[in-house]
């Protein structure tokens, strides 16, 4: 009865509430969780039924940890067929276990066994082999002010139903300013730059979980599954863009695992977040059934397809301005060139050696005559000149 009619004194002290807000405070909340509930085996990868299997074993970490996860080394990792045949995996580098090129029998089931150096054993159930159908087509359309990339596939045998994709994007780009010269600290001279740090390739590996199923369809067909959207002015598009799509056939269990993992989203604590839930995977610790292991190991093959999108393929007008990420870069006249044969003045050394600015070119300001005045070195910040800070200047082997 006294729920609302608090004692008179307290009901009267309403203003306290407002001061109370002034004293509202957000403090770190570190739950009292035993450390043992934070250190579990994590298995990342799948058993490739037609090729090389590559599994990464690591450990989970406390939530506040800042270090990289520890890898699980010196484990004995084996793929075992229900028929008894076994395939060992070898470790290289530490924590990564690789098989030879396998060709597993789709009529059999296979399981993964892991014996850790610490003496614990983990394994999956015997899992069916899902043979991934070929990707019919990776294609794109220009729509909604951008490039939407789609994937199409089908399984005439109706055996797949659950599909998942990963992709890797690569694109050509240039830094803001091309560097034709460099300061050589040995000769203490400014010399022509031998390498190209202007043309680079950027790279991005998908992190989002992309999957779908065809349970509601009368055929096992995926048409126009949206994989990636690039806004019209994307920095990936101004020269040449490529995407490699990898497709995996999954069991329903694996699909559901990724679905929950997707919902336990990267983004926590906002109003439209899903309520999180426990998900472990299909690897069990058999030496301690209470200890979870994390990760889902499917047995399937991979099919993949790469496409390219050229600047010329795009409908954007010739003078269209793409985002570059270099918008704030400017080229500045830094130092006057020394007369031929003379050593560099100290200012040049400081600017290009000590302060780390890179020389882009030599020249003279517009309207002046270099034959009459001596030239100037132009330069800019490293990040504006050296594209390797945002990619690699080594042409990828696949690049066409």
């Amino acid at each position: 009865m006294a729920i609302f009619l608090r004692t008179k004194g307290l009901a009267a002290g309403l203003w306290a509430v407002l001061l109370g807000l002034a004293s509202s405070c957000v403090t770190p909340y570190i739950p009292d969780v035993p450390a043992a509930t934070q250190d579990y085996l994590v298995v990342n990868g799948f058993i490739n039924s037609q090729g090389i299997t590559r599994l990464e074993l690591s450990r989970s970490l406390a939530l506040q940890a800042t270090k990289a996860p520890a890898v699980e080394t010196k484990a004995v990792v084996t793929i075992q067929a229900a028929s008894g045949q076994r395939f060992g995996l070898t470790e290289s580098p530490a924590g990564t276990y690789t098989s030879g090129s396998l060709n597993l029998n789709p009529a059999l089931t296979y399981k993964l066994s892991i014996a850790t150096a610490g003496g614990k054993s983990y394994e999956t159930d015997y899992l069916p082999v899902k043979t991934t159908p070929a990707i019919d087509k990776v294609h794109w359309r220009y729509e909604n002010d951008g490039v939407q990339i789609y994937v199409d596939t089908h399984d005439a045998n109706r055996n797949t139903t659950y599909y998942r994709w990963k992709y890797e994007e690569t694109w050509q780009f240039t830094s803001a300013l091309e560097s034709f010269y460099q300061y050589n600290p040995i000769t203490k001279l400014i010399e022509p730059r031998p390498d190209d740090i202007y043309h680079c390739w950027g790279n991005n590996i998908s992190t989002a979980i992309k999957q779908t199923n065809t349970t509601r369809l009368s055929q096992d067909v995926v048409l126009d599954f949206p994989l990636v959207f690039l806004p019209a002015n994307s920095r990936k598009l101004p020269i040449r863009y490529s995407i490699m799509v990898q497709q995996y056939a999954q069991t329903r269990e694996e699909y559901e695992y990724w679905e929950i993992l997707r919902k336990n989203s990267e983004n926590l604590g906002t109003i439209n977040d899903p309520l999180p839930s426990q998900v472990t995977g299909n690897v069990r610790c058999i030496s301690n059934p209470d200890e979870p292991a994390l990760g889902f190991v499917g047995v399937h093959s991979v099919s993949q397809q790469r496409i390219y999108i050229d600047r010329n393929d795009l409908p954007q007008p010739k003078d269209f301005v793409f985002e570059t990420g270099y918008e704030s870069c400017v080229e500045v006249i830094e130092e006057r060139c020394p007369p031929r044969g003379r050593p560099l003045p100290p200012g040049v050394t400081t600017t290009f050696n000590v302060q780390g600015l890179l020389i882009t070119k030599t020249g003279c300001p517009t309207g002046t005559n270099c034959y009459l005045t001596s030239c100037f070195y132009y330069g800019s910040f490293t990040d504006c000149v050296d594209c390797r800070l945002r990619g690699t200047n080594v042409k990828p082997s696949f690049w066409q």
Binding site: F4, V17, L268, P276
Partner: protein, 619 residues
Amino acid sequence: MSVRGGGTDQNLVLFNDATIYNPSHLFGFFSAFNPDMLKSVELYKSAVPARYGGRLASVLDIATRDGNKKAFGGAGGIGLLTSRLTLEGPLVKDKGSFLIGGRSSYSDWLLHRVPDASLRNSSAAFYDISTHVTYDLNDRNSFYVTGYYSRDRFRLASDTTYRYASIAASAKWKHNFSNKLYGVLTGTYSQYDYGFASARNPSTASDFAYRLAQKGVQADFSYYHSAQHTLDFGVSTLLYDIAPGSLTPAGAASLIVPDALQAEKALESALYVADRFEVSPRLSVYAGLRYSLFNALGPRLVNEYLPGASKTENTITGTRGYGSGQVLATYHGPEGRLSAKYMLTDNASVKASYNRMRQYIHQLSNTTTVSPIDSWKLSDTNIRPQVGDQVSVGYYRNFKHNTIETSVEAYYKVMRDFLDYKNGASLFLNQHIETDVVNAQGRAYGVEFLARKTTGKVNGWLSYTYSRSLARVNTGTEVVNGGRYYPSNYDKPHDVTLVSNYRFSQRFSVSLNFNYSTGRPLTLPLAKYYIDNTLRVYYSERNAYRVPDYYRADLAINMEGNHKAHKLAHSSWTLAVYNLTGRKNPYSVYFQSQNGQVNGYQLSIFGQPIPSLTYNFRF
């Protein structure tokens, strides 16, 4: 408020018979009702009269008092940031009266002067106003009109401003047919709306709004048959109209795409009859039967799902459209109410009761955020109503000429089809919420001990409750925690409450209140790991952990003014300290992922002792 392990949505709060959906100001720390306005507050949790229905756990029936029909008067209190005032008096001498009261916080100006920048960005304000008018036409007919409006707004160190408002109105006509039979015809209107506006980033500035409206008509009769039998009977109907959420862009620069959920409508009707039967001077029995009927109404598009499969977006087989007023789902059933009281001696008695309750409206709350929000959702084709059965027995014993009351009550409850969430449920603006919730089964049991001293220099009460509230989800298609029972969100096994007053003299008294309860269950992130170079979080089983225990002590000192008869106003001062020990009780616990770390935060709203001073007056 959770009663006997029930959800916060399982309590019916009636203000002169109009439903109040959010009976609190400012995070539930203060009642939404002005104590100066009230005549009685009756909480039914064991034996619920057949007249009430629609919630599983309890009914809180709040009645305003009638204004003074003879003379004008008033009461109030002045504090530093809020004040309250009540006025009353005759409208027509001896026939009609009014009572009007209001409370308000003044402004946020003090908060905005706090040096801490994040707190300067906080704000909170509320006000409420209520009024009650009575008119006695003659000996046989009386009329009553009540209105209530309350509004809250707050922002907690963030860029999002939350607001909510309640409206409740009722009009009653009481007619005495004879000296044995009277009836009350009541019309009610209730509205609850809330929303939040986010404005920090102009491109994502948005406004979210939710609104529930409820219109009701009921006729209640009471027939005094004889000294043995009093019959209560009646009929009622409620029309719900819910706009369950809309998101609109705020400002010209906003890129938010407008989105809205379909409106929901339904009719909830009931018939009841009950007999209060004095079997003997020692034994009295209450037997009631209520029959409730729920019709979910169009217009609405309803998803149809593959039978026998988990309801997901992938098992939608079609969509069926219903026209305006067309019935899309019907649920109904009897609700038996039975209780008996037997006097063992003049100062000892036992009571036993059985209740069945049916509930057609459910609350959805997202508790993983800094500011939890709650929406109400009607039962429909895909969401069944909740049904609860409770048995309870109690033993009551008074001592020392009834100045000390003691009791022990035990209860066992079975709850069917209350809503819990599927793993990974998404509640915000979900167009097909049935794919993310599941009708869960539950049971709750407990034992309540109470000792109360009603008079004397030292008075007050002390209670201890042991209770459990467990839920289980194990249908053919949905499983949570391996299909085992797990602690529900309202499982708080231990609760100790002490309310004590010590009167030093006629003019000076001190009260000390203390409350302890087990922290509520929580699903915790336990560890993080990387799959394909992406950070993932490993969570515990649902509700496997608990937030820290809650405890709070409050102290108040009352000083009455002198009691000279010819003084214009009677006054008192109250000096109170809320949360005397400065315990940082968690209001919310949430986690955020920041630069590869998953950090937990606890928001405490009253995390330090808060003194207050109020001047109270009455004239």
